[in-house]
């Protein structure tokens, strides 16, 4: 089956950190070297396991930030009272090792053959798998129209801002800034609501495919708004994030 990079059995394998790059004050992208990576689809995630010297182990899941065919990368947001995210975003350096298993997930994925138009709606770090989808769409040369609505506290908190701004013309990227806006901001503010969707959502008659990712409350609210706009439930794919 072309394009599916799915393993029947998942095993943990050692990954070495190839590079780290800070996206914002609290968010970092980690690129990994893997010996035996079967490839992945945009939207999939992987599980990370860290083992301390005393044998203590912690596991977390992170969306893959890169497109199919690109080196595996994850983007991690530092949670203030977290146990794993402060380590990954502040301590971890190239050459360090972790275990990963993946890729995981064949529901929340997009391939060019799935078509569009695409409506991608991100809440905070929920943008990570949607960014992978946009990268994949671009690399594949897909002409499916795409719009991203990205809800963020402020412009400084927008992850991948420079890259997302480059899509002008090939994809429609809009931010809604919920807490702080820069002077002269002409874009959306506040929570995603029906008025905002009236301006950005494809009409249901165009058979759009929607992907919503972010905290549970965000996802449920937005999914409800899309279903109320007659998006069929099986054309609204959701992925909920929660702090561990």
């Amino acid at each position: 089956m072309a394009g599916t990079a799915v393993r029947g059995r998942l095993t943990w394998q050692t990954a070495t950190v190839a590079s780290v790059a800070d996206e914002t004050d609290t968010v970092r992208t980690i690129t990994l070297d893997l010996l035996d990576w079967p490839g992945h689809q945009a939207g999939q995630h992987l599980d990370v396991r860290l083992t301390a010297e005393d044998g203590y182990a912690a596991e977390r899941s992170y969306s893959i930030a890169s497109a199919a065919g690109e080196p595996v990368a994850i983007t991690v947001e530092r949670l203030e009272d977290g146990e794993v995210s402060p380590y990954l975003t502040q301590e971890l350096r190239p050459g360090d090792q972790m275990e990963i298993r993946g890729p995981i997930g064949n529901w929340f994925t997009w391939e060019p053959g799935d078509g569009g138009p695409l409506l991608l709606i991100a809440g905070g770090s929920g943008v990570v798998p949607l960014r992978a989808i946009l990268r994949h769409r671009q690399r594949a040369g897909s002409t499916a129209p795409a719009r991203l609505l990205y809800s963020s506290r402020s412009l400084e908190d927008v992850i991948y801002r420079h890259e997302l701004d480059q899509y002008r013309g090939s994809a429609d990227v809009r931010y809604t800034l919920t807490r702080r806006q820069p002077p002269g901001w002409g874009g959306f503010t506040g929570r995603v609501d029906d008025a905002m969707l009236t301006r950005i959502a494809w009409p249901a008659s165009q058979r759009p495919l929607a992907f919503i990712c972010g905290p549970t409350q965000f996802v449920e609210a937005v999914a409800g708004l899309l279903v109320a706009r007659h998006y069929p439930e099986n054309r609204v794919k959701t992925e909920r994030f929660g702090g561990a």
């Binding site: 943990w12 050692t14 396991r49 860290l50 083992t51 301390a52 010297e53 005393d54 203590y56 182990a57 912690a58 009272d81 146990e83 380590y87 301590e91 971890l92 360090d96 090792q97 972790m98 275990e99």
Partner: protein, 203 residues
């Protein structure tokens, strides 16, 4: 295959871990109060809420919320221990001692099964809910018990792992013979003493 060590990674150090002598084996302290549940938070309005003691399908006694508020209540400070390894020391609760409720029915069961909104159950020997060991708690930290922590009322049995302290409790079934409740059915220990680390069946 041994897992590679992730340089510089260690478990989170937590306040109060220095008092490790007070902790059951395998536990660590937490400053926050994690919310764990097996299902959506119920929202039974207080005017519909009842607490019942039942036996063999018959209801022996029921309290409405206002009747429940007239029962003798105590404020207690206890340590709680979750089987997922967090412990919280010095938590303050207000509630009705379970014996005050059981005394209202002239029965002497060997076991009880706590049952809750949403279908959750957990079983306990009757002697483990006697004096000074168990309450039906409706206040936490000086405030009404919030729904995500089991409000309006939950069972509080701090000497056992906290899955025995059933959230959203609506009553007790009196039993002659022990029966496993929800997690006990899924491989968790029938009794659950944290000091003997009785997490799973057979421990």
């Amino acid at each position: 295959m041994t897992s590679p060590v992730s340089r510089g990674f260690h478990r989170l150090s937590r306040p109060g871990d220095a008092r490790a002598g007070q902790l059951p084996p395998g536990q660590h302290t937490t400053a926050d109060f994690p919310v764990l549940s097996a299902g959506p938070t119920p929202h039974t309005p207080l005017q519909e809420w009842t607490f019942s003691i039942r036996e063999g399908g018959a209801t022996l006694r029921t309290w409405t919320w206002s009747e429940f508020m007239e029962m003798p209540a105590e404020t207690v400070t206890v340590d709680i221990h979750c089987v997922t390894r967090w412990s919280k020391l010095g938590t303050v609760w207000r509630g009705v001692p379970v014996p005050a409720l059981l005394d209202q029915v002239a029965h002497d069961p060997s076991y009880v099964m706590a049952f809750s909104d949403g279908g959750y159950t957990t079983n306990l020997p009757a002697r483990d809910v006697t004096g000074g060991q168990a309450w039906v708690a409706y206040g936490y930290d000086g405030q009404p018990l919030p729904p995500e922590h089991g409000g309006p009322a939950r069972l509080l049995v701090p000497h056992l792992y906290f899955w025995k302290s059933a959230k959203w409790i609506r009553g007790l079934d009196l039993l002659d013979h022990d029966q496993p409740g929800f997690w006990e059915n899924y491989g968790y220990n029938n009794y659950g003493d944290p000091w003997r680390e009785q997490r799973y069946a057979g421990d």
